[in-house]
């Protein structure tokens, strides 16, 4: 049943050298550039990933060879664009193992996917006194849309607490599900902590109480195999740019029964069956939720990115990143000033840390001078920072093209930071 699990050390030990990272690095043109005269070491993959040439070329090809609007024209270019656009939907359907391609809605990203659900399903189903349950490790994008909805409806936002390792307290989660709970919205993988949540267990329990579940998959799809039918989640959202696709394109998966019952998100062209000044008949999903000319090039780029990831294999990528996580955690732990924030037993390739009392923005600037790109700040998860009583963290996050050698440079760069502030 559960489809997401961290890769164990034993599994890695059996086949250590099957991942040809140097070969894959050549697929990413940006990795050859320098920053401040030093080779770029890109460790900010949880913010956004770099793009392989195949994705860049797929977008280019659309603009150079068959740029046109979709679902409209009878001319060849429009038919070609429409086919590419809809083929990508089928790729995404297979990638998530959704039952129908019409359950795949294109959005601008995970944020818009959550807002779409809040503003359509939420407005239709949430009433005064109802409760929406989220977790203490949510990104602001899975907090604020629900706060807005609660404010509008007089509903209440409840929060599942986490422990000092950054793991959800499942007992508390179960206690917080009451007859008033109308929706559970939790992240699959925490962007600030790296924690992989037991979403299968969460969904199973919530469903046993008749509560639907939305999963924020922004940080999980690049690293964890997702099967929405096995999970049985009601909604699943993710962003393309975190899985080697362009920015500005993302996906909302929703069970067809929900999508059919939900009102439209935005009105406009392409979301209608017929329009008169008296009455508009809406199109069926997915078109019902895709008003206006969409980000066609982005959709095509997303399709190419999924092709790329699948050509390597998500399991192999996950195993490689887990190996980097284990190696990086050990290396950083040797620096006595380092405090790792987020030490869950199930973790994706994210190492969030503080360095003595050096502010993360100072760490970020000094690392950048050495070519090392990390994220510094609250990671759009201010409640997480508050939970650990820190203003911000520095965060290294791994992608398929990162290497052990890059982590060695990160460690040296951290040591230089300590020297500057000694």
């Amino acid at each position: 049943m559960p489809t997401s699990h961290p890769v164990s050390h034993q599994e890695l030990g059996s086949k250590p050298q099957t991942f040809d990272v140097q070969k894959f690095r050549k697929d990413f043109p940006i990795l050859t550039r320098q920053v401040h005269g030093k080779p770029l070491i890109y460790l900010d993959n949880a913010a956004t990933t770099q793009k392989p040439l195949s994705v860049i070329e797929a977008e280019n090809r659309y603009y150079q060879e068959y740029n046109s609007n979709i679902h409209r024209g009878v001319h060849s270019l429009s038919q070609q664009a429409t086919k590419a656009y809809e083929d990508a939907r089928v790729k995404i359907q297979k990638f998530l193992n959704a039952a129908h391609s019409s359950e795949i809605i294109y959005t601008r990203g995970a944020t818009e996917g959550i807002n779409l659900v809040a503003q359509t399903w939420g407005r239709q189903n949430i009433q005064a006194g109802d409760e929406i349950l989220i977790s203490a490790m949510e990104h602001h994008s899975n907090i604020v849309p629900w706060q807005m909805l609660c404010g509008e409806k007089g509903a209440i936002l409840r929060v599942v607490p986490i422990n000092d390792a950054g793991e959800l307290l499942m007992d508390e989660f179960k206690k917080l599900i009451t007859p008033k709970t109308k929706l559970v919205a939790v992240t699959h993988v925490s962007n600030a902590l790296g924690t992989i949540n037991p979403v299968a267990e969460i969904i199973e329990y919530a469903h046993s109480k008749g509560v639907p579940v939305l999963i924020d998959g922004a940080q999980s799809v690049p690293h964890v195999k997702v099967d929405v039918q096995a999970l049985d989640c009601d909604f699943y959202v993710f962003s393309g740019h975190k899985i080697y696709a362009p920015t500005g394109i993302g996906v909302l998966y929703g069970k067809l029964k929900h999508l059919e019952a939900m009102p439209p998100y935005q009105g406009g062209g392409d979301m209608i069956a017929s329009v008169t000044f008296q009455k508009t008949i809406y199109a069926k999903p997915p078109n019902k939720f895709e008003a206006g000319t969409p980000h066609i090039a982005g959709v095509i780029g997303l399709g190419a990115a999924l092709d790329y990831v699948l050509s390597i294999g998500l399991d192999k990528i996950a195993a490689h990143e887990h190996e980097l996580l284990v190696y990086g955690t050990a290396a950083l732990s040797k620096i006595k000033e380092v405090r790792i924030i987020g030490t869950a037993s199930a973790k994706a390739g994210v190492i969030s840390f503080t360095l003595g009392d050096i502010h993360p923005h100072d760490i970020g600037t000094i690392l950048d001078k050495q070519g090392v790109a990390i994220r510094a700040g609250h990671h759009c998860a201010q409640p997480v920072m508050e939970r650990f009583d820190i203003p911000a963290t520095a965060r290294a996050s791994f992608g398929l093209y990162n290497t052990r050698q890059e982590i060695d440079v990160l460690v040296l760069a951290i040591q230089k930071t300590l020297e500057v502030f000694a």
Partner: protein, 156 residues
Amino acid sequence: MSDFSDLYQDLILDHQKNPRNFGELAGANHHADGYNPLCGDKLSLFLKLDDQGTIQDIHFKGSGCAISKASASMMTVALKGKKTVEAEKMFHEFHDMVMGKIDKAPEDLGKLKVFEGVKEYPARVKCASLAWHTMEAALHNEKDTVTTDDGKGSES
């Protein structure tokens, strides 16, 4: 000279480690709070002005990065004993300097010229200018917390 000396000069690191005029100020008659939502830097500024508009004393407290802390500390040193009109003038000069709007740092900024290197780090301009914005608000006794968020994500 390390790679980082243009920004993290010894004087800045000294003020970061040993901030001057740090803590609340008894008898302050002007006060304002500043906040940088980008990095969570928080700063409170306290001023004691006399009837002639001279800054008798100035203190700050708060938490933040090395640049924001050192900038606040050095600002308090520079402004003590100055007239408010001089403080306003220095605020504008400092702002123009870290924004890279002027080619050469004005001489009357004295030691504050050490922050000229910030102009090469657009992401850090707000760190350096938070204390000054808060000081300006304190002069006018503005009650709302000053934020460096102008809705554009970068200082203008």
